[in-house]
């Protein structure tokens, strides 16, 4: 029960040593630590190189979502209005990011690599309605660019969800 003076000094020594160490604080808004390549942030929908959308509106992502935050309404492609290479395309594609739990099951489920979870994590808004991302928002090139760590070192050669075909 009786503390030794030596023990107190040991505690002070730990505190004292901290003065000679570099601070680990990261100046966050100015400096952003590169996220690891597997990081699952905001979703992104992709297009083929010829401009057509990869998504064919199969709703498999909506079926896989444990939080039920994806809504897909498909419509038929017509010769006059061709949006995706398949028979159908997603007329409405909405993700409610206030419900999303970022589990990444949608990108695992998508058989066409149309949806992926990218590095962006600064997605707070002032209104909950603004967190419902529509198809245009998801297809657009993200405004913010997040640094990503070396993919060769911190990911397997072919990521499970992104193997090209």
């Amino acid at each position: 029960m009786s503390p030794q003076p030596f023990d107190s000094l040991k505690g002070f020594a730990v505190t004292f040593r901290q003065m000679f160490k570099k601070p680990i604080t990261q100046q966050y808004p100015e400096y952003k630590r590169p996220v690891y390549p597997r990081f699952r942030g905001r979703h992104r929908l992709w297009r083929h190189e010829n401009g057509l959308e990869k998504c064919v509106g199969c709703s498999l992502c909506a079926a896989a979502c444990p939080a039920d935050c994806i809504r897909v309404v498909a419509a038929e492609n017509t010769p006059g209005n061709r949006v995706s290479p398949g028979e159908r395309y997603a007329r409405i594609y909405e993700i409610n990011l206030s419900r999303c739990i970022f589990c990444g099951y949608c990108e695992l489920a998508c058989p066409f690599d149309a949806i992926t979870l990218e590095a962006e994590f600064e997605i707070s808004e002032y209104s909950r309605d603004d967190l419902i991302y529509t198809k245009d928002m998801l297809l657009a090139e993200p405004v913010k660019r997040m640094p990503v760590a070396d993919r060769d070192l911190y990911d397997t050669p072919t990521p499970v969800w992104k193997a090209e075909s």
Binding site: S8, R38, C65, P66, A109, P111, Y154, T156
Partner: protein, 420 residues
Amino acid sequence: MAVAETKRAIYEGTRIPSPIPSVLQVDPGLREEGDILEVNFGPNHPSTHGVLRLIVELNGEKVVGLQAVVGYLHTGFEKNMEAKTYWKAITYPERIDYVSFQNNELVFVLAIEKLLGIEPPPKAQWMRMLLCELNRIHSHLVWLGTAALELGAISMFWYCFRERDAILDLFELVGGVRMHTRYFQAGGLAEDIPQGFYDECRAFADTMEKRVDDYEALLSGQAIWLERTKGVGLLSAEDAIALGQSGPVLRASGVDWDLRKVQPYLVYDQVDFEVPVYPNGDVYDRYKVHMDEMRQSTRIVQQALHGMPEGPWIVDDRKIVLPPRHELHTSMESLIHHFKLVTEGYRVPEGEVYVTVESPRGELGCYLVSDGGPKPWRVKFRAPSFVALEATATCMSDALVADLIAIVGSLDTVMGEVDR
């Protein structure tokens, strides 16, 4: 259960009348004197470890009555899981105990695997053990940081969260997100282990041992810390067993009981570690158990890094595991399996299992009933936090209000797990 007889305990025997109470009743004689003050402690108090509400009855500074009110964080996880396929339900248990997420995920996945009768490959087993031990260190760091903070040692919080962040970085590296990774899947791991993980994890494990010594130097011998923790919140071995305690609370009461040793799961029988046991059952011993467990977990992490076998990380069973991506565009059969697994899920044979793991808080059990369909018929978790909370009243005899903070903190309850 062998009671360690290294040192004599402060008190032996039991002070629990039968039937076992989980509330502390005020002595009727005291109440008649009219000197009892009823105080609400929580639910929104920074020292209550979450949204725990305690109705405390005080006689002066002394706690004479105590009643816990739980349920503020009830979200119905277990019921929700009944409406999801097994694959989707894996994301739920992690959120029950958000501090030891990896262990919660493990117990559910182990339950599914036991019903399915599949054995994950060795690499998955070792990686699961490694991540669970990292998660144990993470959980103990959060406990140490917050419990010491509540007793006034603010700097502990900064030190602990420095290391916690390093662990969360490792989870982000390997699992994609910092906390709820859903990295364990039925049959193995969701993805292979990236090369960079080994170096980063080894660098962390090398520093961690020294860091635990630093924490001990800051707390163990300090007069204020000893005054606040020694001989406070006593729980004897008999009482702890009678109350169904497990984990650090039980081991601090002198009972050598660790599911990793007595009932090894994963590959815990292939690694060398010790189970810290302390005899007194006070807050200080619970603190010492947590510190020693962090050291032992670091040892397991180092051994797991050393002994990690090569090979596949998930079983090759197309009825359970999603087919490889590159096959989706070449093999019609794979595409059909992919659609079936995502929309309908795999069917688990009829039966019921109870699987336990040693989570950072004690025996974490998952009782899973399957009716043969793709969704669990019933899921029930045996939450160690809930059991630990039941010991509050027994720990509280002759305690002051200030000790209440130390005792509730030392029991290491996570309210998400209590309320589920």
